[in-house]
Amino acid sequence: MIQRMFRVALAALAVSVVLGHGAALAASAEKGKAAFMKYGCWQCHGTQGQGSAITSQGKVLAPDPLPIEGFVAFVRSTNRGMPPYSEKILPNEDLADMHAYLASIPKTKDYKTIPLLNQ
C-alpha cells in the first residue's frame, strides 16, 4: 500500500511536469474516444467509462472523471486490479485526449427519472 502511494505520488509529479495546463486544454475528446478504444480501456471500463461491478471493480471513470493529474498518475502506476500503462505504450498526449473524452460524457440521469429503474 505504501509502495503504491509512493508510486502514485511520483507519477503525479511526472505528470505535472509533462502535462502543462496548455496540453490539457488542447486535448481532443474525439481523438480521446478513439484512443480509449485503441488502447483497450473500453474492455474493462465500457465504451463510456461506465465500468462494471466485475471488470472495473465498480470503478466509474465517467461522468466526472478524476482530475487529470490523478487520472494519469493512476494509469501509470496502478499495480492492483488494473494493469499499468507506461508512457512507452501509451503516450501522454493520448492519455490527455482520453481524459477529455471522459470529461465530455454527459451527467448520468437520476435513476428516479428512468421508468425501467422504477418498476
Binding site: 473500453w42 462494471s52 466485475i54 488494473m82 448520468t108
Partner: protein, 656 residues
Amino acid sequence: MARKDSGSKVDRRKFLTGVAVAGAATAASTAANATTAATAPARLPSALPPTAQTIAAETNVPQAEMNRIGGVAGSDFMVDVIKTLDIKYLPSNCASSFRAIHESLINYGGNTKPEFLTVTHEESAIAMAHGYFKIAGKPLLSLCHGTVGLQHAAMAMYNAWCDRVPVIMMGGNDLDAANRPPGVPTYHSAQDINALVRDFTKWDDTPVSLQHFAQSVVRAYKISMTPPYGPVMISLDAGLQQEPVKHRNGEKLSIPKYTPTSPPQGEMGAVREAAKMLASAERPVIVVDRAARGENGVRLLVQLAEALQARVVDRGARMNFPKTHHLSAGPAAVNNADVVLGLEVGDFWAVMNSYIDNGDHGIGVNETKIKPGTKLITISSVELNTKANYQDFQRFQPVDISMAADAEATLPSLIEAVKAAIPNDRKAAIEKRGEAAKRARGEARARILQEAAIAWDATPISTARLVMETWAQIKDQDWSLVAQSGNVSGWPSRLWPMEKHYHWLGQSGGYGLGYGMPAAIGAALANRDIGGRFSVNIQGDGDLMYTSGAMWTAAKHKIPLLTVMHNNRGYHQELMHVQRLSSFRNRVASLGNDMGPIGTSIMNPDIDYAKLAESMGWWAKGPIKDPAQLGPAIKEAVAVVKSGQPALVDVWTQPR
C-alpha cells in the same frame, strides 16, 4: 458382449422360461403396463414379479413374435429396466453403437418414458439434461457413441460434475474384437470407454450380462441421485443389446427396486457446537452456493437467517436465498463477520480471500478479507466425494468446524439447535442486528439503481439496460431465468426480485463454453411441462457458437424459450486477459483489424444470430443496436414464446 450369439436360432423352450420381467413384448402396450407398475418404487418388491402380460407371453408366444434374432432382444429388456426409473426424456444424437437399444426404445418402448429428443451434438444433449434437472429435480438419460460421442459429451459432463448435477450417460461400444464389424465400428470401439470420463463421474460400470445391466443402471441412478449429485456412466455393449435374452443357471432376469438414498446429515455434536458459535456471534454471516436443492431449501435458509438475523451472501450457483429479503447481502458482508457459516460453497477460500490478478511480477496477489480470529464453519456434501485429478475442490481453506454432510438435510437440526442456543439476553441484540440490515439494504438498493443508470442510453447497449428492458417484458409472467452465459455484470441478481428457487439456476459449473443455450433449452422443457412457466435465457455470443445446433432441437420439439443475446462480439474474458498481459509486459496489444487483441474478437465478419436462429426454425430479430428499439423487439419475442415457440433477440451490447 458376445456378438456371436446374435445370430443364434431361437430356442423356444429356453426363451419361454428365461425372462421374468421383459417378457416377449407382445406389443408396445406391454412396456407401458410394465412401466406403470414400476414407477411407484415404494410399492415394489426388490425383484419385480412378471406382469400379467409377461406371464401370458411366457406361456403363449405368438408366432409373429418369433423374429430373426431368435427371441426377445436384449435391448428390449434394457428398455424395461430404464422404464422402472421414470425418466421422461432421452436427449441424444443417434449412433450405430446403440442402434439396438434405440430401436427398442422407439418401437418396443413406444418412445415414452423416455421420449427420444433429437439433438445435434452430444455436448448439447448432456447440457440439456443438466438444465432440465435444475428445474425438474429428476435426471435424464442420454445415449452416445462410447468413443466419438463421449468425447463430444465430455465437456458437458465435466460441467455437470462441477455443478453437482446428476446425468445418466450410456455409451455404445462393441467390445468383442473378434466379432465386431470392421472399419468405422472398430474405430468407434475401446477397451474401456468409461476411462475418458472417470475422473469426473461419480461412478461407472461395464455390464457384461443383461442382469448385470439391470443392477448397474439402478445402481447408477441411485448413486447419481445421492448428494452430492453427479453424472454417472454406463458402457453399453453392442452385442449385449443385440443378442436375445438368455437365462443363466435357470435364473430369470429381474429388475432391482430403486430406493432413494437419504442424504447424510451433519453429526449432532458438530451441529450443536456450530449452533453455539453462531448463537453467541456478534456479526454472523451465512454464505450459500448450492445449499438449496429446491423451494424447501430456500425456506429453511430463511428460517436460519431470521433466527440469527444473520446476513446471507448468496454465491449464486443456485437461487438459495430471496434477493428481496432484508438479510440478503453482497460478498463484502464477510469482511466484518466474527463467524461465517458456509453451506455447500464451491470455493470457500474465495469467500474469505481475494486474488488480484496483478502482482508486481504479473503474478496474482492474495489478500485475506476477513478479520483475524473469525470463526469458520462449513457444511458440504462434496467433501464426501472428492477426486484427485481435476481441481474443482479449489484452494484449501482451514476452518474451525467442518461437516461432511448435506447442508439442506442438516438445516432442520441446525435451526433447532440455534434456537435452543440463543440466550434470552441476546434476543434484543439480534433483533437490532436485523434492523441495521434493513437500513443497509435500502441504501444499497438505491446505490445499485443509480449505478444501473450510468450509460443508460449508450450504444452498444449497456448490460444494465439489456437486463431491465428484458425484465419489463417478462415481469408479469411466472418467470425463470434458466441460463446466463457471458457476463452481464451480475445485473439480474442485483436488480430482479429473485425469490423462488426456479428464478435462477446458476451457471455451468465447470465454466466450459457451450452450456448456455442447450442448458436453457433443457430447463425450458421442464418449465414447459410444469405448466407454461416462462423461461428466459441471456445468451453470450461465444458460448452460443459452441452449441448453436441446440436451437434446432428447441424448434423441433416445440420448447418455448426467450433468448436475449448479450452479443459483445468477442471472447471477452480472454480479450481482457491478453490486454492485461500486454500492458504488464509493456507492449501495445496487437488488434489486427478488430477491437480486441488478435484472436479474441468475434467480428469481421459479424455473425448474424437472428438469421442463424431463423434458419433453425426460431422466430428472431436483430441485431438491435439502438436501445430505444430493444423493448419493442423483446415484447414481440415474448408473444411468440407465449404461443409455444422459441424466440431470439440479438443485441449488440457493452462488453460487460
